[in-house]
């Protein structure tokens, strides 16, 4: 089968919409490189990611009971192309992806970029050992005195 854009089944528009969502996320990732250093860049990227994930979630939910749809895109191996398929199992998986992204992106808007998770608590511990218990702070709440109680 030649590698070209071929669709099947009635719910193909849903699959095309999902592919558009993935492409939009990839473009957003590319656009985030210059935006990362600009004021409001994070809000734009996380906001757009949330919107795309809501779109994916809605499309996947509507496809849960639909007939499988497939699509062959030109990018991919010769003779094979990039084959995509939206069936009910994929729709369940995409529901999880969309829901997770739709919830995590707004949360990220409120998460300060300087709040290093590896700070207090020592971050990840050496493999196989107990977590570190250093008293190092991570800058999330720098106004707090360094030791308490005295």
């Amino acid at each position: 089968m030649p590698a070209s854009a071929i669709t099947s089944a009635a719910s193909a528009p849903a699959l095309q919409l999902l592919v558009a969502g993935i492409v939009a996320l990839v473009l957003l990732a590319a656009g985030a490189v210059p935006l990362a250093r600009k004021a409001g860049g994070s809000a734009l990227v996380y906001g757009a990611a949330a919107a795309i994930c809501v779109l994916v979630l809605g499309t996947a939910l509507s496809s849960l009971g639909g007939a499988p749809a497939s699509l062959i895109l030109p990018p991919g191996l010769p003779e094979l192309g990039g084959r995509l398929r939206l069936d009910a199992l994929a729709a369940v998986g995409l529901d999880g992806d969309g829901l997770g992204g739709a919830a995590a992106s707004p949360f990220a808007l409120g998460f300060p970029p300087g709040c290093a998770p590896g700070g207090a608590g020592g971050g990840a511990s050496p493999p196989g050992a107990m977590p570190a218990t250093s008293r190092r702070r991570n800058g999330c709440c720098p106004s707090i005195p360094p030791s308490w109680p005295a």
Partner: protein, 564 residues
């Protein structure tokens, strides 16, 4: 970090939509590399970089296993064509029984390493807490489910009809994973690390459902297989909901206090009441308390386990109840784990200035947590529509679907038969809401408002120090002594100051992950020794290199001749 976040989401979505091995593996690697970049986003902390490298190694191992699995699935076709890499071609010809068995093992290794099955879990307690909280939520709540999806796609969809024993290795790995995961969680004192280890437990629960589905499908009980697969998929959805919620709560606490150590927190219910309420919902849901969603999926799994006496194979009849006992133990330990987490972090008094000065999370964070908490409650009260929605995915994989649950009276669910078992989350919710409201009214109506103050019992020690409260370590001590000594070589050391020295006594606890001690550490030493020896080959002269190439050529020709 910013560019890798949408890339990570795109990678996860591409894996799920892929319909050929190349696209699947491309998406898988895209997801792995983007998440690696997010894990090491705070690369100033050396431990985070180490966590990222361990994660990268395990991700590469998983991809290798999946690549081999797809190679075996594609090898069954006639001729040599790249079209054999499409999933439709794999479905059309199907592997031989031996190849299918190897594919099952490779899928367990490949998808299991990403999902966090014991003993391939070692990267998970390192990498998930190292990432920013929203990424931790995605990695723990969503990415591990993409791995579960990969396992289902390969084993249930592409590898052909299962043999009677396929469920055995899955169950043998899943049951211990559930127990070990929650025991790991109980030993931790870092909030995010507790949540990461709890993910291992929940992956065990999901794989118990998948193992049951394989066992029942292969042994002529497709209806029970549909029930078990539904339970697994329901738990996939549930875990994505409550684990994301709990990681958001941990992130809110981290932002408010700068602390992840449970020993430095406490009393946050006063400063962060909305976060505390959302975390309470998440903790109750993950502890499988009705009427929340975690209970429904675990209850469905137990319904399938209770049907195991109908199986024709004696080995499965004995194995499945044993796995059920492990699951029950894991559920009980999970409740203890989250009582400990919630009690230490949100109840009592602040154990540090950071905790005493905490402020409520911002609106975005609270909205995200509230949405997930509502969904946890909704999926628990209305499980019927969720079960029905999953049947579109279940039916093609095991051949039948569960009977419709959404239309039953009073929002009940009856997974097997009415005389056998039924559950009504809505009635449980109404009962709890009414009884709690009546109790609150009675307390307010008849209780005394007078406050009686008295010195708290302090075991004879003077002073009123918040550090005298129950701690994360002391809460876990009984379980650590019961399970930790043998499984984790847990040791407690008390250092007492000499007489006259006013320094405090110190209790230190050391533990060891047996997977590191007995599998990965020896493996690392072996690789190190081998690479040290192989390093000599890098410093040969041209004559020796030519001899080496010639020898390798002869060896390959001999192997080919013997193969033919």
């Amino acid at each position: 970090m910013l560019p890798f976040y949408p890339a990570f989401l795109a990678g996860m979505m591409l894996v799920v939509l892929a319909d050929d091995a190349f696209t699947f593996l491309f998406g898988w690697e895209f997801m792995s590399l983007a998440s690696f970049a997010l894990v090491v986003s705070h690369h100033g902390v050396a431990e985070n970089v180490r966590a990222g490298l361990v994660y990268l190694m395990m991700a590469a191992f998983g991809t290798l296993a999946l690549m081999l699995a797809f190679g075996l699935l594609a090898a069954g076709g006639e001729g040599v064509s790249l079209q054999a890499l499409s999933f439709s071609a794999m479905r059309a010809h199907g592997p031989t029984p031996l190849a299918a068995a190897v594919v099952l093992g490779l899928a367990l290794l490949g998808a299991g390493s990403k999902a966090g099955l014991v003993p391939l879990h070692v990267w998970l307690p390192l990498a998930h807490p190292a990432a920013p909280s929203h990424v931790s939520a995605l990695m723990s709540g969503v990415m591990t489910k993409v791995a579960v999806y990969g396992f289902i796609r390969i084993v249930f969809d592409l590898a052909g009809p299962p043999a009677w024993w396929w469920g055995v290795p899955v169950l043998l790995v899943a049951g211990p994973t559930a127990v070990a995961g929650v025991l790991y969680a109980l030993m931790q004192t870092d909030v995010k690390r507790v949540l990461a280890c709890s993910t291992i437990e929940n992956i065990g629960i999901i794989f118990v459902g998948l193992g049951l589905a394989l066992a029942f499908e292969a042994n002529g009980a497709p209806a029970v297989a549909a029930l078990a697969l539904t339970a697994a998929l329901f738990h996939v959805v549930n875990h994505a909901l409550f684990k994301s919620l709990l990681f958001f709560g941990a992130g809110a606490v981290l932002v408010a206090t700068g602390e992840k150590r449970m020993g430095m927190l406490g009393g946050l219910i006063h400063a962060m009441p909305q976060t505390a309420l959302a975390m309470l919902v998440g903790a109750a849901a993950i502890s499988a308390l009705p009427p929340l969603n975690g209970f429904v999926s675990e209850w469905l799994t137990f319904q399938a386990i209770l049907l195991s006496p109908d199986l024709p194979v004696w080995g499965l009849k004995m194995l499945i109840p044993a796995v059920g006992a492990l699951l029950a133990l894991a559920a009980a330990l999970a409740a203890a784990c989250f009582v400990r987490l919630y009690g230490i972090v949100f109840l009592g008094r602040p154990r540090s200035a950071a905790a005493s000065q905490a402020r409520e999370a911002d609106g975005f964070t609270r909205t995200a947590m509230a949405s997930l908490a509502v969904l946890c409650l909704a999926a628990g009260i209305l499980p019927g529509p969720v079960i029905d929605a999953l049947q579109g995915a279940v039916a093609p994989l095991v051949g039948v679907r569960m009977t419709g649950q959404g239309h039953l009276a009073w929002l009940s669910i009856i997974p097997v038969a009415e005389g056998r078992s039924s559950y009504n989350g809505f009635l449980v919710f109404v009962f709890i809401a009414l009884s709690a409201s009546l109790a609150a009214l009675a307390v307010h109506a008849f209780g005394s408002r007078a406050v009686r103050r008295a010195p708290a019992w302090d075991c004879g020690f003077p002073g009123d120090d918040p550090l005298a409260q129950y701690s994360a370590e002391s809460f876990a001590q009984p379980l650590r002594r019961v399970f930790g000594r043998s499984l984790f070589a847990a040791r407690e050391t008390v250092t007492m100051p000499p007489p006259g020295d006013m320094a405090p006594a110190r209790l230190s606890v050391s533990e060891r992950d047996p997977a590191w001690a007995f599998l990965f550490a020896p493996l690392g030493r072996a690789v190190s020794a081998l690479s040290g020896r192989a390093n000599a080959i890098a410093h040969l002269n041209i004559r020796n290199y030519l001899a080496l190439v010639f020898g390798a050529l002869v060896l390959l020709l001999v192997v080919l001749a013997l193969w033919a």
